[in-house]
């Protein structure tokens, strides 16, 4: 009977566990290569500003003096463009998303000035 066709699916679902992940009891595993949030290795950075120039949403601000690298997480669209153009390969996309925030703020990274 055609109107009973869906009962197969119903029976199958009755004997299999839930499809959804039991987050937060089971940690979320992000696939390798997922585009999450941008991270910087400040030691390698030469503060050339190419990432700032190329960023399509103008989320990145770089200053040479004092040496700082700043990102507005709410503007960033995790497009990976800055990572591609970085000449020193100091930028990388983490697979995890940036944590939620209640206020519009920027993440500032400042280079530690070496003595002398």
């Amino acid at each position: 009977m055609s109107f009973m066709g869906f009962s197969k699916v119903v029976l199958k679902n009755l004997f299999t566990g839930p499809v959804t992940e039991r987050y937060p009891f089971v940690p979320k595993v992000y696939p390798q290569g997922a585009r999450g949030s941008v991270n910087i290795e400040l030691e390698k950075c030469i503060f050339c500003g190419i990432c700032q120039k190329k960023c399509p949403t103008a989320a990145i601000a770089v200053t040479k003096e004092p040496k700082s690298w700043e990102i507005d997480r709410l503007r960033c669209i995790s497009c990976n463009y800055c990572v591609e153009v970085c000449p020193k390969k100091c930028l990388a996309l983490d697979t995890k998303y940036a944590p939620v925030s209640t206020a519009r703020s920027k993440d500032m990274f400042k280079a530690v000035q070496s003595a002398g």
């Binding site: 055609s2 109107f3 066709g5 869906f6 197969k8 699916v9 119903v10 499809v19 696939p31 390798q32 290569g33 997922a34 585009r35 190329k54 399509p56 669209i77 995790s78 497009c79 990976n80 463009y81 591609e84 996309l93």
Partner: protein, 359 residues
Amino acid sequence: MSERTIIPFGPQHPVLPEPIHLDLVVEDEKVIEAIPSIGFIHRGLERLVEKKDYVDYVYVAERICGICSFIHGLTYCMAIEELMKVQVPDRAQYLRIIWSELSRIHSHLLWLGLTADSFGFESMFMQSWRLREQILDIIEETTGGRVIFGSAKIGGVRRDISSVKMDEIMKKMNVYRKDIAQLCEQFMKDQTVKHRMQGVGLLSRADAISLGAVGPMLRGSGIAQDIRSTGYSGYDRIGFTPVTETAGDCYARCMVRMREMDASFVMIEQCVGKMTDGPIEVKVTGNPAGEFFMRSEQPRGEAIYYAKANGTKFLSRLRVRTPTFANIPPLLATLAGCQLADVPVIVLTIDPCISCAER
């Protein structure tokens, strides 16, 4: 003759995922005429070409639509590539087809859920979205994004899929193909579904042509027009025949989409079989000049991108004609004369994507 009343349908309505407003002129329960008004979510994305350079605009083009995002970005890239006379490597073209077809499958599964939900078949909605989630997982593994792929680029693609990964995906896809086919069969053979869809929202072959219907709306009325058959982006290298149905009702349009999903799986399989190692992009230098019309087949139908460039890094004009916009006149023709209770089903069978239509 009974009195005429106007019933507003939308912009906020339980079956509508996005805002479109229709004034339904009804006599008793019969719809006499539908008067549309759009423009609730116009974002002015076409004008942004004046502020974003032609490379950056790929990101904006992808965000024109939240569902067929990849094909929007791809069509824009192809238009610029034609202007700059760039030949995209073979491997990149196959990857583009794979992602295009994956986005077609996930879009059709989303549509199936929404359509089933429009007449109260909520368990079908959940089942089809469960399957869609698995397709989204494949997309996330290969491109890094679930809905915004971000992998289209002028001159090629941004990411490659390794052969190991490809084998893994193909194994999963074979299972998903069977699951989706089973679900489609259950949906299409259901008595209630047939009752609600057969003979409802009829669009004749002549009307489909004269009103400019596109995509499954056109193919459901028996016209074998699919832009993929023009062979853009390497579609000419894989066997492709447009899927058509002749009834022209809601059921026929559903059937077209169901069969298209299966055809997409076949196309992905062919691409994987024919793909050879090689570069995935070519370096693009200089600025575009001239004008070009690019057409592509999105899950909802034919999209047209018109790009006009003046030799600087900013385009002087970009015009996008999206499939939902083209399908609004045929929708109004099918609504005239239908029952009020059938309006949600008919609206959903054009697979409306309003953010696309209003840009």
